[in-house]
């Protein structure tokens, strides 16, 4: 659990490291415009693990790509801010949404300050270079770009890589550093990927479904490793997943997304034990548990995820919601309103009924 910030604690704890505000990402296609991310806001504080959870098409991966400025055409950020607080000699707040994707500043941030752990390490590593070469290259490249201007020799970078491999629990790191990605097992490959992501000591780590392609016992190892490294380096992590179990185990703060919008967000305990949004509640009810009764009919969410071109008007969840308010939910989009101490939900059930829709 994250410590509750007190007045005595530094700016570091109070000011968010990353603040996504009213972000909108659109894809302009011949068939029409898809609003993949539609007005998403959330904060990430230093050393905090923020979990973004949602089903396919909820916009969680597009949000991640927007932060890293990796949206490919025909997609673009059409509105909103991504405020990143940079430390160092000249502390400043950068709006990543305004930076040129291929500009020097964005390229200096990517990998060095904001690193990514992708879902498929097999696809992320080059098969024709050893994993060591790729990590050494990243270390040397970012060191040469560093404002302090000190460069790192290939030998030193190699020593650092071996040390990183040891850190992420790769046995025989001196040998494994010269292995190709296809010579490693899924678990080792993901560990090597984590080593690469950590190689420049990033302040923010974005983990995009890092354990989805991995078996459950290896997943437990990787999650434990991430928790341990997070504590050790005090890195902030945005953890993207569709797995509610994984979110419950790693996140301090949870953002629940559906069709490009935030449905609910709050501390992990509130989301799992006092969910407020009908979507969060329904989602939690529909997963079979390891403890409940077996072979029972599970409560389901009616209907299916709509096609992105057929986004329902009003609240995106209203056609599937069992608490839908007639004449209201279909006509207007609810705002995120406070429903707890640090918890917010975007639902008309928690709006002032007198408020005009």
């Amino acid at each position: 659990m994250p410590p509750t910030p007190t007045a005595a604690e530094s700016r570091e704890q109070i000011e968010p490291l990353l603040s996504v505000r009213d972000l909108r990402v659109v894809f302009e296609l011949e068939e029409g415009t898809v609003r993949a991310v539609d007005g998403v806001s959330f904060n990430v504080r230093a050393g905090q693990v923020v979990g973004i959870v949602g089903e396919s098409g909820c916009g969680k991966s597009v949000t991640m790509k927007a932060i890293l400025q990796l949206i490919e055409t025909p997609g673009r950020i059409s509105r909103g801010e991504i405020l990143y607080r940079q430390n160092g000699a000249r502390p400043r707040v950068l709006d990543l949404a305004r930076l040129r994707p291929r500009g020097a500043l964005m390229r200096a941030l990517r990998g060095a300050e904001i690193a990514l752990i992708p879902q498929e390490p097999m696809a992320a590593f080059s098969p024709v270079h050893t994993v060591g070469q790729q990590i050494i290259e990243a270390i040397m490249l970012h060191a040469s770009r560093h404002p302090d201007g000190r460069s790192i020799s290939r030998h030193d970078a190699r020593v650092m890589t071996i040390e990183l491999f040891r850190d992420v629990g790769i046995s025989m790191p001196e040998q494994r550093v010269d292995a190709y990605s296809w010579q490693l097992s899924g678990g080792l490959r993901q560990r090597a990927m984590i080593a690469m992501a950590l190689s420049c000591r990033p302040r923010l780590l974005i983990a995009d479904e890092p354990t989805t392609a991995i078996d459950v016992t290896t997943q437990a190892q990787i999650l434990a490793l991430l928790r341990e490294l997070q504590r050790k380096y005090d890195t902030a992590i945005i953890f993207i997943t569709h797995d509610l179990g994984v979110i419950a185990q790693v996140a301090h703060y949870v953002v629940v997304m559906y069709l490009g919008s935030v449905m609910e967000e709050g501390p992990v305990d509130d989301i799992f034990h006092a969910p407020k949004h009908p979507y969060t509640k329904a989602l939690l009810r529909s997963i079979p548990s390891l403890y409940g009764e077996t072979r029972m009919i599970l409560p389901v969410i009616a209907g299916a995820l709509p096609h992105p071109f057929n986004r329902p008007p009003g609240c995106p969840f209203h056609p599937r919601c069992d608490l839908v308010i007639p004449h209201r939910c279909a006509h207007a989009v609810p705002r995120l309103v406070p429903v707890g101490l640090q918890q917010q939900a975007s639902c008309f059930l928690y709006h002032d009924p007198a408020e005009p829709a």
Binding site: V216, T218, H242, V268, S289, L290, M296, P299, A304
Partner: protein, 341 residues
């Protein structure tokens, strides 16, 4: 509770000593240098109307096992005894294609990927109706009627039958796949990870459908999955595989209340529980699954087992009945007091 599995019903399927080895060849002459023991001496029985959950991590042989039972591949050794509608027991393992043909309609499969398993150039009528055509239903009118009934059975509108698969969502496609598997009125359905590609909100719908169809049609399921909470939810009995072998086989309640094999217990503890107040234990299984081409000596699990003794690296344990109906492949199954959570 929906459960049709009685204790005294003779088994519908009785697998005995099933093995499937894949040769590893090397050099110009394709010399066989090793054998990958994908399925290594597996025995179990499935009663009519029950669901047997088959769990294990990737590479444990669960897919090879189910494909051997379906006779999509030829087993290396062992018997697959199937009790036909007439009550005759036949061994599917050595049968030729022609001999298998009349039995194919009895044993069907539901696939994992609802996007890859339907022909995108065929309408639902042709996709779902193809097994009927293959099995001799020549009249198109008859097939149309049957497909309409099948679509209704799985909760889809019969009007959809003239559409193509791309018009449907993942959950709907999985329903179409189920309709196709049921087209020939099978008795045994092997479902290979049928819900793992689906979104959480849709997964529950498909699980409910499978439970409902089972009680309505008296189906027998072999449910292959890696998600333990799903397997626990749907199965009457659970079989756990590790490196090609069954390490535990028991009624669902028993195996989750008191697993008898350390691997089963470790597998259960590794599941991330969707409750932040229940922390996944720190007793995390170390190391990785060994290769079935070069399994360890003795008990295949001993290098990763917390309780391993000298005996475990020398002597391979047998799958034996530890308590009535509860089988485990561990020398110390009685002594260990394991906990699932």
């Amino acid at each position: 509770m929906i459960s049709l599995a009685g204790e005294n019903v003779p088994p519908l399927l009785d697998v005995r000593g099933l093995r499937k080895y894949f040769p590893v060849t090397r050099g110009f002459f394709r010399r066989v240098v090793a054998q990958v023991r994908a399925v290594d001496d597996v025995s179990f029985a499935v009663r009519q109307g029950e669901t047997l959950g088959l769990v294990g991590e990737s590479g444990c042989g669960k897919t090879t096992l189910s494909r051997s039972i379906l006779r999509a591949i030829e087993p290396t050794a062992g018997q697959v005894l199937y009790r036909t509608r007439e009550g005759k027991v036949v061994d599917l393992a050595p049968m030729s294609g022609a001999e298998l043909k009349p039995l194919r309609r009895d044993v069907q499969m539901i696939f994992q990927d609802p996007f890859g398993s339907l022909n995108p150039r065929m309408t639902l009528l042709d996709n779902v109706g193809e097994p009927l055509l293959v099995n001799g239903m020549r009249s198109r009118r008859e097939r149309t009627e049957r497909v309409a009934g099948l679509l209704q059975l799985v909760g889809l509108r019969p009007e959809f039958m003239h559409r193509f698969p791309h018009a449907f969502s993942g959950g709907q496609r999985q329903r179409i796949g189920i309709a196709r598997a049921l087209a020939t009125s099978p008795r045994l359905v092997v479902a290979d990870e049928p819900v793992s590609a689906l979104d959480v909100s849709v997964q529950a719908q498909v699980l409910n459908l499978l439970l409902e169809l089972q009680s309505r049609l008296r189906l027998t399921f072999i449910f292959v999955a890696h998600d333990l909470s799903v397997v626990r939810h749907i199965s009457d009995r659970v079989a756990v595989m590790y490196v090609g072998q069954l390490v535990e086989l028991a009624p669902t309640e028993a195996v989750f209340a008191r697993p008898r094999h350390p691997y089963t217990a470790a597998l259960m503890r590794a599941v991330p529980v969707p409750d932040p107040r229940i922390a996944v234990g720190d007793a995390i299984l170390k190391g990785e699954v060994p290769s079935p081409a070069a399994p360890p000596s003795g008990c295949y699990f001993h290098p990763r087992c917390r309780f391993a003794q000298d005996r475990c690296c020398r002597e391979a344990p047998l799958l034996r009945e530890v308590s009535p109906g509860h089988f485990a492949r561990c020398h110390f199954a009685e002594q260990l007091s394991l906990q699932a959570a």
